[in-house]
């Protein structure tokens, strides 16, 4: 057991974890941030995706020590007191989440995409989400939601 210091969703957090813990285990079991999901525990499905220093990262294969000193953003950190992030709202409006289990990871991949590319093409959205498996939707409504969110962000 060792102490790890993380900056998560703007908060400085201190947590004791077994040395082999991943970032996902630390978020879920150490900090109670259960929004990030475990679907495969080996980097295949993308349900655990979080944003680290602006990049979409698979937290289930990231040793927690690699996240020290970096800015970690999870699905719990996307909305503000003012309301949902436009991507979250558009996912809801477009029916982009069915069972919702892949949704936190896909939202993080989408936000990371839009932060670096505010007006992606549909092809760029597909490519950015290629590491996130969704078993429910067939992806169409997810692309619709990301496109709509990009438009809303552009209008700001």
């Amino acid at each position: 057991m060792e102490v790890v210091r993380l900056r998560v969703n703007g908060d400085e957090r201190v947590c004791g974890v077994p040395t082999h813990y991943t970032l996902l285990e630390t978020l879920r079991y150490g900090l109670g941030l259960t929004g990030s999901k475990q679907g495969c525990d080996k980097g295949d499905c993308g349900a655990c995706t979080v944003i680290v220093d602006g990049r979409a990262v698979l937290s289930c294969i990231t040793p927690v020590w690699e996240a020290e000193g970096r800015e970690v953003r999870t699905v719990e950190g996307l909305a503000t007191a003012a309301g949902l992030h436009p991507v979250q709202d558009e996912f809801d409006l477009n029916g982009a989440a069915q069972c919702g289990f892949c949704t936190p990871g896909i939202l993080c991949s989408s936000v990371a995409l839009l932060d670096r590319n505010p007006s992606p093409t549909r092809g760029e959205i597909r490519a950015a989400l290629a590491g996130n498996l969704c078993r429910c939707t067939g992806y169409e409504k997810i692309y619709d939601a990301v496109e709509a969110a990009a438009e809303r962000l552009g209008d700001r």
Binding site: G35, V75, L78, Q88, A97, Q98, G100, T137, G138
Partner: protein, 809 residues
């Protein structure tokens, strides 16, 4: 309440315009459709789901997100052998390990169970025998996962290996040792079920045919792969109550089986079903982990959680059966079907699961949307030493539909008839009976064919695209719920309870299972529609057997139809009370009181009105605390009386047509599906966004089975017999965003006479045609018939080579 409004003839179906909101009455609208359409304020509009925000912010709590104080972690020891006798299990070393609080083996729960009451053939943990690699043998509960895993390694099991059956034909031909003890003396213990049924004079039908097409087909097994692995938590309390939280689709059946197998009073057992992260049929029966967390919690007095690894999800399976199929299909020279004959061998894996039903479904569900004058099927489900197969989206009917729709394509080709036209000519119609005596009411199949023909520009593409590119069509039907529960009883299939608060809030207590399909939202829309309550004033408590009425579960596409009708039933009881109380206050008739937009208003007098909250208070003052229950049961006159006639019977059938467009690289055999157009008759789209989501998700899953997915196992010469070939999401390839074709949904509404507002199912039917439509498109592209799944590059390449060499195809 049983089957409302039987005998009403459905009006012609129509295709919903993309993005169309509330329905206007059709121009010639008369009767039920016009009556409904004029009244609808909420139903039919694109709406948010009530749990969308919780799921989009990480607040939705799935089973593995629940942590209870003092919770232990459980793990299950699994068999390394495909078929073996258990000679001895020694758990003493595991029990002695620091941090281990409980160990159980099969002997602690020696009662068989099975989702189908006639075939209970599995134990929570194996007692005498293991029957597949991965079969559970013992379970431990420890302070953490690492300790639990360490404890598993300390359990000593002595096995005596038995010959393993991996091939269903070999299993059927064997004379022992059988995988299961025969249920009756002299029976073959390697067979779950054989069904042979014939309708009409099949032999004469073939004699009178101008063309008989014969073909052998193989449908490879596939599995559900929900992104959420199975998870359960058991909590035994000192007062004798047991609570099990589980990612299940069938809390009611789980409730019954937990009580029966663990010999507990069912009144002391509570099953709670949190939001489920995908299921697709893969969580629709009890699993070993649910019994184990319960038993381990009883033994340790502490809450116990078990979360499957992804590998365990692949081994727990219950997915699509591999089918070996032979079809003969006869037709006149005009393309009218004369007779159909099938022989099917199904590879069931180690346990029965829903297999008895699957065996019937393999034949029973083929008899629409085309008229069949004569039909015979013979289906056998074999046991093999592999993980058990069960129901996957489109249970038992996706495989035959693939073969049959390819047969139809071959008939169309031989007779030089357009394949869409051929399907139109054989349309069974609405308000009719199938050859096996299933009642069909609303039927929008022709409109589905029209819609995909138009949207895909079929007439300019079929047989007109350059070599390597092609289009294919296929149609299908599916049940909107099974007419009978898995255990015989006369009680309702669906129940719901509504409770109205003085604040104007309505609470819905629903027994149904939210697995992502949107059932919690569906009942919210219905309450809003009936009572005029804003959506944000409605709350849902669902899937908790202590507090919600029974709904049988999220399977067989039954929930919208059955729970929806139950919900209308309950809401209208409350509405009647509110109308009566308000009418009394206004000195008018109850029917003059309209509930809409958060208000009670007087018909024809917009100046007279009050907030709903006040209307509810008037009703509470008059009638006492406001609440109502509602229920639905199926009509009983919708099937024949022969043995098996009830299986396949449904209060309504959905219909689907797909056109797929593909590009085939003849150099590599690589198939790219460019687009699938999906037209689906869902009766009425209560929320078109959710219906489209089901259609697209279904077509995606069918596409995946057509081109990519294989749940296959190694033979002895590949290492270890019965070992899963690729139990990971990297190697068992499910489509990523880059693999998935463009999908276009075309909603067809036939307004079913008995569905809630005319609705039928949308969750499973739209999967079926994907596979044969892609097979038929490959034929249009490169002239070869793909009769074995999946259509992987080597298979397609070989087929093209064979056609080039021998002109076959």
């Amino acid at each position: 309440m049983s089957g409302r409004g039987t005998g009403t003839v459905a009006p012609p179906a129509r295709v919903r315009e993309p993005g169309q909101g509330a329905q206007a009455a059709s121009p010639n609208g008369s009767g039920r459709e016009a009556e409904i359409s004029e009244a609808l304020a909420t139903i039919g509009r694109p709406m948010r789901k009530i749990d969308g925000r919780a799921k989009g912010t990480g607040r939705a709590r799935y089973t593995d997100d629940i942590r209870l104080p003092g919770m232990l972690h459980g793990k299950i020891l699994r068999s390394p052998h495909p078929h073996a006798r258990i000679l001895a299990v020694d758990t003493s070393r595991a029990e002695a390990l620091e941090g281990v609080h409980g160990v159980v083996t099969g002997r602690d729960m020696p009662t068989t169970y099975g989702i189908i009451p006639w075939t209970p053939d599995e134990y929570p943990l194996c007692v005498d025998k293991v029957r597949y690699v991965g079969d559970g043998v013992a379970a431990v509960a420890a302070v953490d996962e690492d300790t639990a895993n360490a404890a598993l390694a300390l359990i000593d099991v002595k096995y005596e290996e038995l010959p393993a059956y991996l091939d269903p034909h070999e299993a059927i031909a064997a004379d022992g040792p059988f995988i299961h003890e025969p249920r009756k003396k002299g029976w073959n213990g390697n067979i779950t079920k054989t069904v042979e049924l014939a309708f009409g004079d099949v032999d004469r039908g073939f004699e009178g045919s101008d063309l008989v097409v014969e073909g052998d087909y193989f449908f490879e097994g596939t599995t559900h792969t929900p992104i959420e692995p199975h998870c359960a938590i058991g909590l035994a309390e000192p007062d004798g109550k047991l609570t099990v939280w589980s990612a299940t689709q069938v809390p009611h059946y789980l409730h019954r089986e937990l009580a029966r197998v663990l010999e507990l009073d069912p009144a002391r057992v509570r099953v709670v079903q949190p939001p489920v992260g995908g299921a697709f049929g893969g969580k629709s029966e009890p699993f070993d982990l649910e019994f184990c967390v319960a038993k381990l919690s009883i033994i340790t007095g502490r809450p116990v959680k078990i979360l499957y690894t992804r590998e365990e999800v692949f081994y727990s399976h219950r997915g699509r059966h591999p089918f070996h199929m032979r079809y003969r299909t006869g037709a006149t020279r005009d393309g009218i079907l004369t007779a159909v004959d099938s022989r099917i061998v199904m590879d069931g894996g180690a346990y029965a699961s829903f297999g008895l039903v699957t065996t019937y479904y393999s034949g029973q569900l083929l008899t629409a949307p085309y008229r069949m004058p004569a039909y015979r099927f013979h289906s056998t489900r074999a046991y093999t030493n592999k993980p058990a197969c069960g129901p996957k989206r489109g249970h038992g009917s996706v495989q035959p539909r693939f073969a049959f729709e390819v047969q139809l394509d071959r008939i169309a080709e031989a007779l030089d008839i357009d394949p869409i036209e051929l399907r139109r000519r054989n349309f069974i119609g609405s308000d009719t009976r199938t050859v096996n005596d299933l009642r069909v009411t609303s039927n929008g199949f022709l409109e589905c064919l029209d819609a995909v023909e138009r949207a895909s520009d079929w007439q300019h593409k079929f047989r007109r695209l350059p070599y390597g590119r092609g289009v294919g069509v296929a149609g299908s039907t599916y049940i909107t719920g099974t007419n009978y529960p898995v255990y015989p009883n006369d009680m309702p299939q669906s129940g719901i309870q509504l409770q109205v608060d003085r604040s104007g809030r309505v609470a819905i207590f629903s027994g149904a299972s939210e697995i992502g399909q949107g059932v919690d939202s569906m009942v919210t829309y219905i309450v809003a529609e009936e009572l005029g309550v804003p959506l944000e004033h409605i709350r849902v408590l669902a899937g908790d057997t202590d507090f919600t009425p029974v709904d049988l579960g999220a399977y067989s596409s039954r929930v919208t139809f059955m729970l929806g009708n139950a919900c209308i039933d309950a809401a209208r009881r409350i509405k009647a009370m509110v109308q009566e109380a308000v009418a009394e206050a206004w000195g008018t008739k109850p029917r003059e009181v309209l509930l809409a937009g958060g208000l009670a208003v007087m018909a024809g007098d917009t100046g007279t009105g009050m907030p709903l909250r006040e209307a509810f208070n008037l009703a509470e003052a008059k009638f006492g605390t406001l609440g109502a229950t509602g229920s639905y049961n199926t009509p009983r006159d919708v099937h024949g009386s022969y043995r098996g006639a009830t299986i396949g019977a449904s209060p309504a059938y959905s219909f689907t047509a797909h056109v797929a467009e593909v590009e085939v690289d003849p150099e590599t055999g690589f198939v790219t599906v460019e687009k699938i157009w999906i037209a689906h008759d869902c009766g009425r789209a209560l929320n078109p966004v959710l219906v489209e989501g089901q259609m697209e998700g279904s077509a995606y899953m069918g596409f995946a089975e057509a081109l990519m997915e294989e749940q296959i196992f190694k033979s002895a010469d590949q290492g270890r017999a019965g070992l899963h070939n690729a139990p990971s999401l990297l190697d068992y390839r499910i489509p990523t965003s880059l693999d998935t074709p463009a999908l276009e949904s075309l909603i067809v509404e036939s307004i079913d006479p008995e569905g809630p507002y005319g609705a039928k199912e949308a969750g499973e039917g739209p999967l079926h045609p994907s596979i044969p439509a892609i097979a038929n498109a490959i034929h249009d592209a490169v002239g070869v018939r793909m009769n074995s799944l999946p259509f992987s590059p080597p298979r397609v390449w070989r087929a093209i080579q064979a056609a080039g060499d021998g002109g076959r195809g």
